[in-house]
Subunit: 353 residues, 2 copies
């Protein structure tokens, strides 16, 4: 830390992304990436990209892409905000709407970036404990008077609550903002994007990193009431006017249009997830019910860290969180069937030892 850093960051604990070791070729099941390539339409648009255009700034409005997204999500373009990944979208939402007066709360077990944003913006960390079965405590969120951020399905548990329950939370108090982070929604959750025209206190965040296999292109969106989007645009134009580059624009446009391929990949991931869950249960694991592209599981046979470390030695990366309540769990990204089979064999072999 330099002597120049603002004193407000004294206690900052930055987010720690999943490791990307380079010492060997790993089966990478630790950052919830899609095991399948992006759409062939994405490949085509990159191959034919008019590179001369890169000399020009993107249009700050990203109009063409917004029109396609509006069509897909059945909203107007004024309901859409685009970002350099959904992490940026979330970072700007925290920046815009939460402060010492307008506090925010989120589940104690959820996406690790929420407390990091809270630190960054010097917000009080109001955590609402998930239930003993790791489901989100819907009643507590209905009752709180604070702004809310919920991941649905939740991470790293993988568990979803229903659209009905989200609506109950949103409708219970229109004076607070409810941010629903739907990063994993396409793998089995019920999206509430359809509610943004009904409630002016709802923001739905989605990403193209998961179901659309574009983690490397960085693209995320927020869908909300026009006034909310207006605020986010004002913040964006005060932070980085051209936050979505021309290549990402082109790629996201093709991805949103190729819904057929997205659904094909999603189906395959779900199939592999159900297969893996069954196998893990057969091996004695408790597997939380997942609506995502990962499973969260534990066993009495071996603790979370040991299983993670042993699998890493065998060339498979999974994720384990050194955090209260969940340290015995491992989070495993759903890969190809071949990867899942290798994983199960290695876990069997580890448990036999």
């Amino acid at each position: 830390m330099s002597e120049f850093l603002s004193a407000r960051y004294e206690n900052m604990k930055p987010y720690v992304p999943g490791e990307q070791p380079k010492d060997m070729q790993y089966i990478k099941l630790n950052t919830n990436e899609n095991p399948f390539a992006p759409s062939s339409a994405v490949a085509k648009v990159i191959k034919n990209f008019d590179v001369e255009k890169l000399r020009l700034y993107p249009t700050p409005e990203n109009k063409e892409l917004k029109v396609a997204l509006a069509d897909y999500y059945k909203v107007e373009i004024e309901n859409l905000f685009l970002g350099n990944g959904s992490d940026e979208v979330l970072a700007l939402i925290f920046m815009a709407f939460f402060d010492k007066e307008k506090e925010v709360c989120y589940p104690d077990i959820s996406y690790g970036f929420y407390p990091v944003y809270a630190d960054l913006y010097c917000l009080k960390k109001n955590e609402i404990a998930v239930n003993s079965d790791f489901s989100i405590d819907v009643d507590a969120f209905i009752k709180t008077e604070k702004n809310i951020v919920i991941a649905n399905p939740n991470a790293p548990t993988g568990m979803a609550i229903s659209a009905k329950e989200i609506e109950q939370i949103v409708a219970a108090n229109l004076k607070r903002l409810v941010v629903v982070d739907e990063a994993y929604i396409d793998f089995g959750g019920e999206s509430v994007t359809g509610l943004v025209n009904k409630y002016r206190n709802l923001i739905v965040v989605q990403t193209f990193s998961k179901s659309r296999a574009l983690a490397g292109a960085r693209f995320g969106i927020a869908i909300a009431d026009k006034k909310i989007i207006y605020d986010l645009e004002a913040i964006k134009f005060s932070f980085n006017s051209y936050n979505v580059n021309r290549l990402t624009e082109a790629v996201a446009l093709e991805a949103i249009k190729d819904e057929k391929y997205t659904q094909k990949c999603v189906k395959e991931v779900i199939k592999n997830r159900e297969w893996l869950s069954t196998q893990l249960k057969n091996l004695g694991f408790e597997v939380l019910p997942s609506s995502t592209n990962f499973v969260f599981a534990r066993t009495n046979e071996i603790n979370g860290y040991e299983l993670y470390a042993e699998l890493k030695r065998r060339g498979i990366l999974i994720r384990q969180f050194n955090k209260e309540r969940i340290s015995e769990f491992v989070r495993i990204t759903i890969g190809t069937m071949e990867q899942m089979k290798t994983l199960v064999l290695e876990i069997e072999s580890i448990l036999k030892k």
Copy 2:
């Protein structure tokens, strides 16, 4: 504005990027883009890009690109911070280092984003007036005890101060941070990247949007002492871990390696700039001495806004700032010689009326 926006943004005035009207095909000389295409190596790397890789997050360290940049700038990779355009780099610098105690000052006539960042982070706007000839008041910056942001060459004046003068400012008080925004440095200024190992209170910011013709790919960097970079990385990992996407990484890597092409474009731009400056002076304009890829000029014959509006009607976009001290000026981006000739003919025709 929604009822949910934090009260601290009440007076926020977002940055206004140069217009991008779609009603007709304009000669676009209003956002200081490079008139030439990016390097052919950039085109090649995009054409051959392994799209399957987009399913994976970028490596948050951007190691390969940092190694190439370290080689180019003769620093270590720990001296480098990468961003989604230099606007993001600047936004994160303001976020990290400036607050109510650690105030910042900048020239009154400079890049329009500095006061916007000040607003965004609720900072006092300490402006130091440029001299009557629009040059930066070096003595005033030597004397101030506040942190400093200077664009060198400055925008929209185009005027540079020497590396010696920057060093005088940096050396005068090691307790404050000096940020030198070198967005336009390749067009004639003296870079101070060589000083980052000598002074731990210096940050140099550069962009690939101008001399490397990659405005549409969004890539900017900061070069500074390792402790400063460490702080910026902590802020980045608290805001958006993967801020530079895989396509931009690939493109920036090729651009930094093709220095020969960059220099060829720069030479052409400088030649066209000198030609345009002479022509404008012959037409009675005062043209500030430019070390950038634009000129800042005024004439008694027609005021800045009228000239801007008349040229727009004729299909040429330039920029004019409705701001005290400079409203009579126009800022004209240097284009191809053909564009410059068309521009001069149109200005002649406007002045004759």
